[in-house]
Symmetry: C2
Subunit: 400 residues, 2 copies
């Protein structure tokens, strides 16, 4: 059986851990698996490289930053391959470029354009374990690029798609939980989750896998397993949605801390106004998340949206521009809000989730300041002091 596995930075954080992974790969190989292994940089290597760049400049050239950051994975693939050779097993390391990973788009946030897996296929045919540097590829100009946050997951899923096989993501958690176990200790592990739910969970702060990798898995129908490195404990499978899944109304609960809720009050309700506002926010680089609007008496409009706390400077910049363009606008800002989201494809066939949540919030006396919904999720902005109670009450109500 052919398989692509990915081991994250913590899993290859020490020489000892690299040896342990090599030993496991040798064992898997004996059982007849054809293995392509994607690895990240060892432990805190990337942070250390970023710190070096940071001590030179606050705005490093992105091409050079990609060159610098791509170094960590090159180190890991060489060391893991040496460790496999030491066990007497044929293995070969490939950089992103050598593995045929072609990228496009801006440096530090490139996207995979295509994969030419000829070289990987050739080495697999020779019976070798193929070790690939995650997080990196090569662009049209022949320069090394990196894929941004969670890029190694994306490398692994893309390789699995091009090799037409399953992808296993090994990390330092047991799998995907309905609620972050740090926030709710009784949280249950999910055995099976749909791509769509996982994408909502990823973007809503589940933090285990990057949303782009899940999206890619969905697009190419790659079954993705997420589990703990070198553990026999069963993890989570991410697969196409199926009827069984819809039995369960809510699959997971996501928590995103440190968001800012901004409300612009009594705006004149014209399409130009709204468009100007979002243009100003977009150009300042503010990542807008929850958006809602309500009509007010007299024909005006209240517009609310959220963005991460660490974009406060960008937000203020955008608000200044909005004030210049629209004249005096009344602005209300709440820092440090928390967003709680419930995700589940069952929501599509089970109406009344929102009602059940409102009931829970009313019973617990929890006030929410914003609510938005998608086809398979519903999100609430609440005061952080209510977070723990909200998480526990919702997790119990929906059996997460």
């Amino acid at each position: 059986m052919r398989i692509v596995q990915k081991y994250g930075g913590t899993s290859v954080g020490t020489i000892e851990k690299i040896k342990n992974i090599a030993e496991s790969l040798v064992e898997q190989k004996k059982q007849g698996r054809e293995l392509v292994v994607v690895v990240s940089a060892m432990g805190k290597t990337t942070d250390a490289l970023l710190a070096k760049a940071g001590s030179i400049t606050s705005k490093p050239n992105k091409r050079e930053l990609d060159r610098l950051l791509s170094v960590g994975e090159q180190e890991t693939i060489a060391l893991l391959t040496m460790a496999l050779n030491e066990f007497g097993v044929g293995a070969i390391s490939l950089t992103g470029y050598q593995a045929g990973i072609e990228t496009t788009g801006i440096h530090t946030k490139s996207k995979i354009k295509s994969i030419d897996s000829k070289k990987v296929e050739k080495y697999l045919a020779e019976g070798k374990i193929v070790i690939v540097a995650g997080f990196q590829g090569i662009n049209e100009a022949g320069d090394i690029t990196t894929l941004g946050r969670g890029g190694s997951d994306t490398s692994a899923v893309a390789l699995a798609a091009s090799l037409n096989c399953e992808c296993e993501i090994y990390t330092d958690v047991d799998g995907i939980y309905g609620v972050d176990p740090r926030a709710y200790s009784k949280a249950k592990k999910i055995d099976e989750i749909s791509y769509e739910e996982m994408m909502e969970m990823s973007s809503l702060g589940a933090g285990v896998m990057e949303v782009r990798a899940v999206e890619l898995g969905k697009k190419y129908g790659v079954p993705i397993y997420v589990g703990r490195t070198l553990s026999d404990k069963r993890g989570t499978m991410i697969v196409e949605r199926n009827l069984d899944m819809e039995e369960k109304v809510i699959t997971g609960l996501g928590i995103t801390d440190n968001i800012i809720l901004t409300t612009l009050k009594s705006l004149e309700n014209t399409p130009e106004n709204i468009s100007d506002i979002f243009e100003a926010l977009g150009e300042a680089g503010v990542n807008i998340d929850m958006i809602s609007q309500t009509l007010v008496e007299g024909g005006g409009l209240n517009l609310s949206f959220t963005c991460p706390d660490n974009e406060l400077n960008l937000l203020e910049e955008a608000l200044d521009r909005i004030r210049r363009e629209l004249g005096e606008v009344q602005v209300e800002e709440h820092n440090h809000f928390t967003k709680i989201s419930l995700v589940g494809i069952g929501m599509m066939s089970h109406p009344g989730v929102a009602g059940k949540v409102f009931k829970v919030f009313a019973r617990e006396g929890i006030r929410f300041y914003q609510v938005t919904t998608s086809e398979i999720s519903i999100s609430y902005a609440i005061d952080p002091k209510d977070k723990e109670r909200a998480v526990h009450a919702l997790a119990e109500a929906f059996n997460l």
Copy 2:
């Protein structure tokens, strides 16, 4: 004026030093220099990478070792380029591959086959400072290779040859000295030295520049300057030999410690015998240096040669084979000898250097165990206890 500069590992050992070099490059650029800058890995990076490999295996796969070791230079080029950008100067980093450095031969000891400098020329034409990773290239298989000890010097000289310009090697010494200043504090710096003399000096333990780089410089007529990083003090020019040089009989004195002197006694004097012996030594990988033979009474032959101390195991292996093939052979070994060599193209036109040395040794009561000569050098194996006296007496006698 176009120029290739090389900065060694100590010169780029810290972020502060990298910034200082960037500042100097900016200044040079202002003065109209077209700059191609070859850098090594920061300080002890290569040692640290080797240690990691060593904690996995005592015999790392050489392809993987090259991948691992080439990482250090990639880090430096990114950081130096960022530092230049921070000064507002256009700069771009290139890996060995991107700089068009094609190699051949075995991993970890590859040789430069050719350089396609199109890309470098293009960036120079755009007014950029071009920062190139030393020590590395790419082979026919598309794999990263490294050039072995002193490889960055070779990268720099080869680039200068392909760009038809001068090469400046910046290091942590003021230039080339007639005698190693650590052995003879009154040693004089050499202003100008011929490629041939420098090659002898390199291989005889001057330790400042690798002999391959000098050889390449000679082959392509690249003038090479060797001097201290960021210092105004004048260093040493390595150039074609000229008549002025021949005025001076001896240019330099080389010292090589820790050699083994082996003598095989009373061998039967046949060409096959000698050839078998050197074949056995060569196949065991012993680096033979000084060779001499003397006839003994009765038609036999004494054969002496030296090799480095750290090859004792290989030597013993070869001697075992020689005993097996030639029958019992009487072997005499002296560990920890020191070789003193005098180098100078003036020797060709000034006979009597050997005589003068013998006189010095006789006056000082220094015994030598082996002597060999080349066209421009003469070398003596002596007891290490006599080293200091020999160095001082010879340096004074030849005004080094």
